[in-house]
């Protein structure tokens, strides 16, 4: 560093008066304090009401308990390995390699949208499918899809309030049963979801479900044209009879393992093109029927792996990990999912050593 070999310290300055010294010291404190305060402001220190990734994940932990090493939501699941066979039909809409190469490897995960890794499979009427496509150029496409067609709410704040409505009351230790109905009464945007959920029954199999992106994205082609889309994975074999009897709490994974033992399972990736005016920033709104739907190709799943040791365990299915040719939309839930998942991912990767060594079993 700097050596102190200068023979002179420069001309001697006259000493500062006490008042001048105080003034100058105060000046330094003000400058340094202002920078520190600006930093604290950006960090949200003065704004405890700001919705942060931490607050989002904290409320999930409050509602579901902390299960070290597990995802804070969609905690119970199973890894699947397979590949995607592109049809070439999306090529003119997106430059992404996944739509242009014949075959892209996939690591996926079927899961139950609940925060408790030991929740019985029939406790939630929704199933989810997350996929990571790894392109030959190294770029990835990660997507987390759900079997419902729309999301209950359109904004991160409303999602947070919905979670808060389900939090245990400190007095009773149980959620206040009036809070969720009160929330929905104040949130008419939830009507499409509530209408759907009335008819939804917990399916006996992961295999018979259609999984929807729910959020909108843009396909971008090589000339830079953008097309708003939503996508879904529709099962190609539609036998609704469960392979295994719907017994116990873990029938979904058993059913999947059994079906895959008989051969690969296939889904068709349908990409729905928005018409001008369709909402791309609100996942609580359905797009009307009659939209053009492209058959992008076929997802082929070949085998399962336990989620505690499988390849999907350490993947954060952040929906904004996208290859060139696919972009996020203005949907505010996308950034919130990305930010919240990152927080959950850091918590659970810090706890890997606490994961149960044995295969995950449902608790009675």
């Amino acid at each position: 560093m700097v050596d102190r070999t200068s023979p002179s310290g420069g001309p001697q300055r006259p000493p500062l008066s006490a008042a001048s010294l105080m003034l100058r010291l105060t000046g330094i404190a003000v400058v340094v304090g202002a920078v520190a305060a600006a930093f604290a402001y950006v960090h949200g220190t003065f704004d405890p009401q700001r919705l942060t990734p931490k607050a989002l994940v904290d409320v999930l932990e409050k509602n579901n308990g902390v299960h070290p090493g597990f995802r804070r939501n969609h905690a119970k699941g199973v890894c699947v390995i397979g590949h995607f066979e592109s049809s070439g039909e999306v090529r003119e809409y997106s430059s992404a390699q996944v739509f242009n190469e014949p075959r892209t490897p996939v690591v996926g995960r079927f899961a139950l949208p609940a925060g408790n890794p030991y929740a019985p499979d029939n406790s939630v009427p929704i199933r989810s499918l997350a996929l990571r496509f790894t392109q030959t150029n190294g770029q990835q496409w990660r997507t987390g899809m759900n079997s419902m067609p729309v999301f209950p709410v359109g904004t991160p704040d409303a999602f947070y309030q919905l979670q808060q409505a389900q939090s245990p009351d400190p007095a009773t230790g149980k959620p206040d049963p009036t809070k969720v109905p009160a929330f929905f009464a104040a949130h008419p945007e939830a009507v499409p979801f509530l209408t759907w959920v009335k008819t939804a029954r917990p399916s006996a199999s992961y295999v018979t479900e259609t999984y929807n992106s729910i959020n909108a994205f843009y396909l971008v082609n090589s000339s830079g044209q953008k097309q708003a889309v939503r996508w879904s994975m529709a099962p190609m074999a539609r036998d609704s009879a469960p392979a295994a009897a719907e017994q116990g709490a873990d029938f979904l994974e058993r059913d999947l393992v059994q079906r895959l033992a008989e051969g690969p399972l296939r889904w068709q990736l349908n990409i729905t093109l928005a018409n001008p005016g369709d909402p791309v920033n609100d996942a609580s709104k359905v797009w009307p029927d009659g939209r053009k739907v492209l058959n992008a190709g076929t997802l082929v799943l070949e085998k399962t792996q336990p989620q505690l040791s499988g390849d999907c365990r350490d993947i954060n299915y952040d929906p904004l990990v996208l290859p060139a040719g696919i972009e996020g939309s203005e949907d505010p839930l996308l950034a919130a999912r990305s930010a919240g998942y990152a927080d959950s991912y850091l918590r659970r990767t810090s706890e890997v050593s606490q994961l149960p060594a044995t295969r995950q079993e449902a608790r009675p």
Partner: protein
């Protein structure tokens, strides 16, 4: 060549002020990014990654400039503890300028995500994908960023102390290229 310059060379001063802006912007981007779930989170991340790599490249250039040019000496009458503090804080600043971007790069590598600087510009992974390693790198990245911010504040306070209280040549040696007339 003079062996006892009174000011930093032009390139050193340019790098100092350019990187000062970039590093302070980077610290604020990081602080805003990790405490937001809005669209801001997304565009701040897209700024954070390429800016971090730019800082890493400039830090390497700066280290070379530092090692190959003469720096103005500290004032001869500076108390010994302030000399030590000056040397230690500069060591910390240089180390963190290099280490923080590398930690950011390594932590994304460890997460198994592609390290994308833009839609198409991808860097290779510098460590294998490993969840436990990711957690250690991610936490180190955060804690060391706070340390860098505190060191920057200290550096700022010391610079003003030299300029306003001691009124020696230290602040001027980074502000100007020539002796004051």
């Amino acid at each position: 060549m003079r062996s006892q310059p009174t000011h930093f060379v032009l390139l050193a001063r340019l790098l100092h002020w350019l990187m000062a802006l970039m590093i302070i912007a980077m610290l604020f981007i990081g602080a805003g990014m990790v405490t937001s779930v809005s669209a801001r989170h997304e565009w701040l991340i897209h700024l954070h990654k390429p800016l971090g790599i730019a800082i890493l490249l400039l830090a390497v250039v700066r280290l070379l400039v530092r090692l190959t040019t003469h720096q103005p000496p500290l004032p001869a009458d500076l108390p010994e503890w302030q000399v030590l503090a000056a040397k230690a804080s500069h060591l910390v600043l240089y180390a963190l300028m290099l280490v923080l971007p590398l930690l950011g790069w390594a932590m994304i590598s460890a997460s198994g995500e592609p390290v994308m600087l833009s839609n198409t510009l991808q860097l290779p992974a510098i460590v294998p994908a490993d969840a436990q390693l990711f957690a250690i790198l991610r936490k180190s990245h955060g804690y060391l960023a706070y340390l860098l911010f505190l060191t920057v504040l200290l550096h700022l306070a010391a610079a003003l102390f030299h300029g306003w209280i001691r009124r020696d040549e230290v602040l001027g040696s980074m502000l100007r290229g020539r002796d004051r007339g």
